[in-house]
């Protein structure tokens, strides 16, 4: 039978909520399927709220606030307007339909208007198909903590810890949070303080940058250990430390729903050459979504995708680009949600196979690691090769398939993203791609390659004063090289650094602000018609 669409409504305390009250006191009736939530201001409504509501199966989300100019908090409602617009766009690209989100202005005196809005909204929602998502949708793991930890202790060599403290001396977080020490966390696990550890925030502070693993004489793979423990660790800690209210992980979870029809291709420029099937597949990653979520940073992240396709076309390659590509699941994996990760993995692998690709190229180090390493572990006999764009490009350069024809007079410093560097040992190809560009002087930071320092945040966890400190330190190091352009091969580095740069800084801005560019974008800049 036809079920009533379920609506979650966020009402601002000063106008809309009162308006709703008035509707009641005036005995104006409206559909009962709305579930009002009072917030002080419509500006309080975060895109994450919207996504979470939908993820839990709401068919529509109604956000109401004061009329422009009436906002009790001056301009909260205008912020809400901007935010809801982009959230709507997010829903569109997700294939969840923008109609499910509605923003309206309702004043104290507009009881009738409120009732009308709810009635209309219900009607509209009745016409679109019901929300494919539902609370039962997400996979939940039932795990034995004891067993998981013990298994992890063995698998990741943690038991061989010699307590030498080299990890703490290497860890970017320990350096700014002197009480944080991987080996001490390990020691506690070894001494059997399991529950205490699983409920402590320490587990979520790890950047999983692998610096400690790189240097640990006892071959203790701490980040792997942390990854395993996060599966059974208390999630409250995680939620507290989660950046952006977890909008991105929500996004990833939503994408595990097979029936979604995404709208993610419209970034492709006119005349860009792609093919539905073929040898080479370009795995775009979350760029279309980040493009929306972080539009304020104005990083134009989709230019990375455009550059990739551009360069490949220039080399005479028409890559496959999947219109139903899903999130690679990296963040879910590293926050302990292995089950939903596996779903994504299977869906992506299936799509890639369908396209008949023998080779998958990614421009994102996280996708790169995840596809190449973690998919291989989840999905048996991965029958395609995964390469990073930098590897492909240096290959094309060697084969003379592409060449730079624009002289860029720039002094460039390169950041090794953790996932590309320490995780996958790709150090030289990106440097080659940069160094080959005419007119470019490539300089190094003191700590480079396996000693490079993380951009400060991973899997959108614990973005706090400590990660900020790490970021500022790294930016200062880059700046100190005298370079005028900081190139990275990871879109997330750019997001995190841009974020810290656009904040109120505890240091002289000129010491830490530097122009950034993605490796591929830089490469494209050096080629006509790419």
């Amino acid at each position: 039978m036809e079920t009533e669409p379920r609506i979650v409504a966020f009402l601002c305390n000063w106008c809309s909520y009162a308006g709703a009250d008035l509707a009641g006191t005036s005995r104006i009736s409206y559909p009962p399927n709305v579930r009002p939530i009072r917030v002080m201001c419509s500006g309080r409504v975060d895109p994450a709220f919207v996504l979470n509501a939908l993820e839990m199966g709401a068919d529509g989300v109604l956000v109401t606030g004061c009329h422009p100019g009436d906002c009790h908090y001056v301009s909260g409602n205008l912020k809400a307007e901007k935010r809801m617009k982009s959230t709507g766009e997010l829903l569109r690209r997700l294939g969840l339909r923008p109609e499910r989100l509605r923003l309206e202005w309702v004043s104290t005196s507009e009881g009738a208007r409120f009732a009308q809005i709810v009635t209309d909204f219900t009607k509209i929602l009745g016409e679109v198909e019901p929300n494919p998502l539902s609370a039962g949708n997400n996979a939940v793991a039932i795990l034995n903590a004891e067993q998981t930890v013990t298994e992890a202790l063995a698998r990741t060599n943690v038991r061989y810890c010699l307590e030498c403290g080299k990890c703490s001396g290497s860890c970017p977080i320990s350096k700014v949070k002197d009480s944080y020490s991987p080996r001490r966390i390990v020691e506690r696990f070894l001494l059997g303080f399991r529950d205490r550890m699983l409920s402590s925030p320490d587990l979520w502070n790890c950047l999983t940058c692998l610096t400690c693993t790189e240097r640990c004489p006892s071959d203790v793979r701490y980040p792997e250990f942390v990854k395993a423990c996060r599966r059974v660790a208390s999630k409250e800690q995680m939620e507290e430390l989660c950046a952006h209210k977890g909008v991105t992980t929500a996004l990833s979870r939503i994408l595990t729903n097979p029936s979604l029809k995404q709208e993610r291709m419209d970034w492709l420029p006119e005349g860009a050459g792609t093919s539905p099937k073929g040898e080479l597949l370009y795995f775009v990653g979350c760029l279309p979504y980040f493009d929306v979520i972080f539009e304020d940073f104005n990083l134009k992240l989709l230019n990375i995708a455009r550059s990739v396709v551009g360069i490949l076309n220039k080399a005479g390659i028409r890559p496959v680009v999947l219109d139903d590509e899903r999130c690679c699941g990296h963040d879910l994996l590293w926050t302990g949600d292995v089950e939903n990760f596996e779903r994504l993995a299977k869906m992506n692998v299936a799509e890639i196979r369908k396209a008949g690709a023998k080779r998958v190229v990614t421009a994102c180090p996280e996708c790169y690691r995840t596809l190449k390493k973690d998919y291989a572990e989840t999905v048996s006999n991965l029958d395609f090769e995964v390469v990073h764009i930098s590897e492909l490009l240096s290959e094309l350069i060697d084969d003379g398939k592409i060449e730079y024809d624009i002289d860029l007079q720039r002094k460039v410093v390169y950041q090794d993203p953790c996932r590309l560097g320490r995780h996958m040992n790709v150090y030289e190809p990106p440097r080659k791609v940069i160094a080959e560009i005419p007119g470019i002087e490539l300089v190094e930071m003191g700590r480079n390659r396996e000693n490079a320092v993380c951009c400060g945040v991973n899997a959108w966890l614990s973005c706090n004063k400590y990660s900020k400190a790490v970021q500022l330190d790294r930016l200062a190091e880059a700046k100190a090289t005298g370079a005028d352009l900081l190139v990275t091969a990871c879109p997330k580095c750019q997001i995190h650094w841009k974020c810290v740069m656009s904040e109120k800084l505890p240091v002289r801005p000129e010491d830490v602000t530097i122009e950034m560019r993605d490796l591929t974008v830089l490469a494209a800049e050096a080629m006509h018609s790419a």
Partner: protein, 435 residues
């Protein structure tokens, strides 16, 4: 006992010398083979020895000379064992005599040749900190005091030939093979240093002021490149602070060797004390994980360093060393694991104590002699508990570091042990001949 029975000792370090002297002074003939131009080994490179603080060359030089002068010892320096076969109780050994291009009998060691030689190269004996000529003696107290032309760098300009008063230089010298019959063989090939470049976070090879301990030892040595003055290589400044890092490459399951080199904690302590004696103002810190003080008088030695010499011991291995590109000063990031805080400290010089590993040549020798090596590359003992110096091949014995990590006294003791076993074997074969 058959006194004409002879023993081959491979390696002219302290262990090899001790074994040779023990055997020779009890009347056996000894052939002491050393691949480098002079005997003396590692001990000759050291400045002092712990815990007595004896000047190392001062106590080892007499032993070197004893070997040279002992009627029962023939020194085969700049030689290598090439082949070994067995005939009855004896070993038939082929020794390759590498061309010195200097006639040993004619050379007086006056050094004129080196004065005129135009080629200058880093001196291995000084760990490359000092320089030598292409015609050289590795160290002033070289035994034998005979010059050697290193073919690799020699320009064949012939200057040395012209200036040599005794016509000892012979650029046409050919390698020759010597064949020996010996009743027993003693291996004492010692150790080499693990290449710490691979532990890139410490920046050895990138940061000028990061040294390895043996380099530092030369830097302290009165006969070293700075004449015993403690100076920083980057700018010749007297350091105000020196930090030692233990276990660089040792006790590692990854990127190193799993075992403990045994001597580092103590020699670092020794070097630390020496610094304080050279430069009382200089702060010295030793970063360690576990203090290995199991030897006789070692704990007291460390206590002395702590309490009377003001050497600072920090339990915790630094994670990385960052160099200030301008000054060359170094910043160490570490966790003081007994205070549980991560912090950084500055140092003018950082000394890495690298793992001491069996020589690469041990492999070749083991192949040559049919010896088993243990999983770490040390010569495997026949019975670790009750026959520690015996190898799997009867008549062949091992002593010193090549058998397992140990310090000087233990090597000396074990050298005597090997001598004892060799003597037994020879006595036995003598008996057999009698009956």
């Amino acid at each position: 006992m058959k006194t004409d029975s002879s023993v081959l000792v491979i390696g002219g370090g302290i262990a090899g010398m001790q074994a040779s002297l023990d055997l020779a002074s009890r009347g056996l003939k000894v052939y002491l083979v050393e691949r480098s131009p002079s005997i003396g080994g590692r001990m000759a490179q050291l400045d002092k020895t712990f815990p007595t603080m004896d000047c190392s060359i001062c106590i080892v030089a007499p032993k070197m000379i004893d070997c040279l002068r002992h009627p029962n010892i023939s020194l085969l320096t700049y030689c290598e064992v090439k082949a070994v076969s067995r005939s009855a109780a004896d070993f038939v050994v082929q020794i390759l005599r590498k061309p010195r291009f200097v006639n040993e009998t004619k050379c007086t060691g006056c050094g004129i040749c080196a004065q005129y030689c135009p080629v200058e190269i880093p001196n291995e004996f000084d760990m490359g900190l000092g320089i030598r000529k292409a015609v050289y003696i590795p160290l002033p107290q070289a035994v034998p005091l005979k010059y050697t032309i290193d073919e690799e760098h020699c320009l064949k300009c012939g200057l040395c030939q012209r200036v040599c008063g005794t016509g000892a230089v012979d650029l046409k010298q050919e390698p020759e093979t010597v064949t020996l019959n010996v009743g027993a063989i003693i291996l004492a090939t010692g150790f080499e240093l693990f290449d710490v470049r691979s532990i890139s976070e410490y920046g050895y090879g990138r940061h000028l002021n990061v040294l390895i301990s043996l380099e530092f030892e030369r830097l302290l040595s009165a006969s070293g490149p700075t004449g015993g003055h403690l100076l920083r290589l980057s700018d010749g400044r007297i350091p105000r602070s020196v930090a030692f890092i233990q276990c660089v490459g040792s006790r590692s399951l990854k990127g190193g060797v799993p075992f403990c080199s045994t001597a580092c904690c103590m020699y670092a302590t020794k070097e630390a004390i020496l610094i304080r004696e050279h430069e009382p103002e200089c702060e010295v810190t030793i970063f360690y994980n576990e203090l290995r003080v199991f030897g006789k008088g070692y704990q007291d030695f460390v206590n002395k360093a702590k309490d009377h010499r003001g050497v600072k011991y920090v339990r915790g291995l630094p994670g990385e060393i960052v160099e200030d590109p301008g000054t060359g000063d170094l910043t160490l990031w570490y966790e003081d694991t007994t205070e549980n805080v991560t912090k950084s400290t500055k140092a003018d010089i950082v000394v890495l104590c690298p793992a001491l590993v069996p020589r690469a040549t041990s492999k070749d020798l083991s192949a040559l002699l049919g010896l088993e090596l243990d999983e770490y590359g040390f010569f495997k003992a026949k019975d670790r508990l009750f026959a520690p110096v015996d190898t799997n091949v009867p008549g062949i014995f091992a002593c010193g570091y090549c058998q397992s990590p140990k310090d000087i006294p233990e090597s000396v003791g074990q050298a005597s042990a090997a001598a004892s076993r060799a003597a037994e074997v020879i006595a036995l074969s003598a008996d057999k001949e009698v009956h």
